[in-house]
């Protein structure tokens, strides 16, 4: 019998894929709750708990500021200070989700202007650009 004649087995749905916003390990899953009762957060009563919360809040704030800086940089002419005393200018396009690579246009290099290029974040020490007329912002990557 040719395999194309057979009816394919039906499935209820496809396997769920990763959540792009989190690393998973849902703390509300039955297994987590049963095996890790001490890590379920209680109402903030312990002092170490509130210190952690404060640090988390500050980290979140810094992260948000960094992401907003990236947004503000979009389309602007940016100066990139890189390792080995390299300093180049380019128009910033976008960053990838993990901030590993920066997409830029009209990259001015000693060899000429590169229409489109990708910069490796590992190589970048700082980016500097004019947020508005006369005001320069510096973001350290």
């Amino acid at each position: 019998m040719r395999s194309s004649m057979k009816t394919p087995v039906s499935v209820l749905r496809l396997p769920r894929g990763p959540d792009p916003n989190s690393r998973g390990f849902d703390p509300n899953s039955p297994r987590f709750v049963a095996l890790c009762p001490t890590t379920v957060p209680s109402s903030s009563s312990s002092s170490s708990g509130s210190a952690d919360e404060e640090e988390q809040r500050l980290r979140a704030e810094l992260r948000e500021r960094f992401l907003r800086t990236l947004l503000l940089m979009t389309g602007k002419r940016v100066r990139f200070d890189m390792h080995e005393h390299v300093r180049v200018h380019a128009r910033f396009g976008a960053s990838d989700i993990d901030v590993l690579t920066l997409q830029v246009s009209d990259l001015e290099t000693p060899l000429g202007v590169q229409r489109e290029a990708l910069l490796r974040c590992q190589d970048v020490i700082a980016c500097s650009f004019e947020a508005r007329e006369g005001a320069r912002s510096v973001a350290t990557v």
């Binding site: 057979k6 039906s10 396997p15």
Partner: protein, 329 residues
């Protein structure tokens, strides 16, 4: 009525999947861990393939991954010269074990107290997870990179396969090689079946079965293409194998006859393993996906639903997803 196999594709990895392992059966089902060159090993529910979490921390390709029986701990081996131990419930990194070269293989003892590692520095290491700062016991002898290292025979012996085309059986107490098997080609994979103490080895186009105690050959089968991995069903009635031609082959273990072959992957298959209950097997490929395959095609299990022909055309079939004839990536 014969039905056509519908593999379930687990996406999420962005590079080739090079290793996978199942846990034992726990009160919460069984689990699957996958090692990937993207450096982000993932934990999935074993019977559905649903993603549970990603272990973040490695800075290089992850070459080996394993779970303990209870699926409470995970271990990974990576190109960043470390092996890591993880809490498989919270996803937190518990331990980083620095090595001198790429680590390729990790394996827990039955009681999860010791971790065996092996890699490109050619040395087997045994870590006591109760005393992580203590120096590991080392077993040297292989003359090339170790690809796979496993505990066997009640954790009294260690089996290791290396690029030097040998498999060696070591006594864990004396650290001496008790037996050595030599091959003409590099061994591509090794699986140890505790119940029956059988060792499944693949090399070239061959799938061979050995006694894990004596390293005597039980039987061997040649496949149509170069095989990278094979797995024996827990009841020992079938075994499955996959390799270079992207297909999965299913054989009858007693007669050695090829029963079926399945297409589906878009790249060579690097690893294949049966689930602990034998109801399905998972394959990992160069194409970056894991696929789950039914052992008994058409049976209701996990996400697969046995549907009678009359039901397919009735209104009740709306909740079911009937895959098209060609499933494209």
């Amino acid at each position: 009525m014969a039905m056509r196999q519908t593999p379930l594709t687990c996406s999420g990895h962005t590079r080739p999947v090079v290793d996978l392992a199942f846990s034992g059966i726990t009160p919460y089902g069984y689990f699957l861990i996958s090692a990937c060159k993207d450096g982000k090993p993932m934990l999935r529910q074993g019977d559905t393939g649903d993603w549970i979490g990603t272990f973040l921390g490695h800075k290089g390709a992850v070459w080996g991954a394993t779970l303990n029986k209870e699926a409470t701990k995970a271990a990974t081996a990576a190109a960043d010269f470390t092996a890591k131990v993880w809490d498989a419930v919270t996803g937190d990194e518990v331990l980083t074990l620095a090595h001198k070269h790429i680590v390729k293989s990790v394996n827990f003892t039955e009681d999860s107290n010791c971790l065996l590692t092996g890699g490109n520095d050619k040395v087997l290491r045994i870590y006591d997870l109760g005393k992580p700062e203590a120096e590991p016991q080392e077993i040297a002898g292989h003359t090339s990179a170790i690809k796979k290292a496993l505990w066997c025979n009640n954790d009294q012996h260690i089996l290791s396969a290396a690029e030097d085309k040998t498999i060696r059986l070591w006594d864990k107490n004396t650290k001496e090689a008790v037996k050595t098997l030599s091959f003409d080609a590099s061994v591509s994979s090794m699986e140890y079946i505790p119940d029956g103490e059988i060792l499944v080895i693949t090399y070239g186009r061959t799938i061979a079965f050995y006694s894990a105690h004596s390293l005597d050959l039980i039987k061997a089968v040649d496949a149509p293409a170069s095989i990278h991995s094979a797995s024996l069903h827990p009841e020992k009635d079938f075994f499955v194998a996959g390799g270079d031609d992207f297909k999965l082959y299913k054989y009858d273990y007693s007669t050695k006859d090829e029963m079926e072959s399945y297409k589906g992957h878009f790249g060579p298959i690097h690893c294949v393993r049966f689930s602990p209950d034998g109801e399905l097997y998972a394959s990992g490929s160069e194409d970056g996906t894991l696929r789950l395959w039914q052992t008994a095609v058409g049976k209701t299990y996990g996400l697969w639903k046995c549907v009678l022909p009359e039901e397919l055309s009735s209104e009740n079939s709306e909740a079911l997803y009937c895959p098209p004839a060609e499933i494209k990536a």
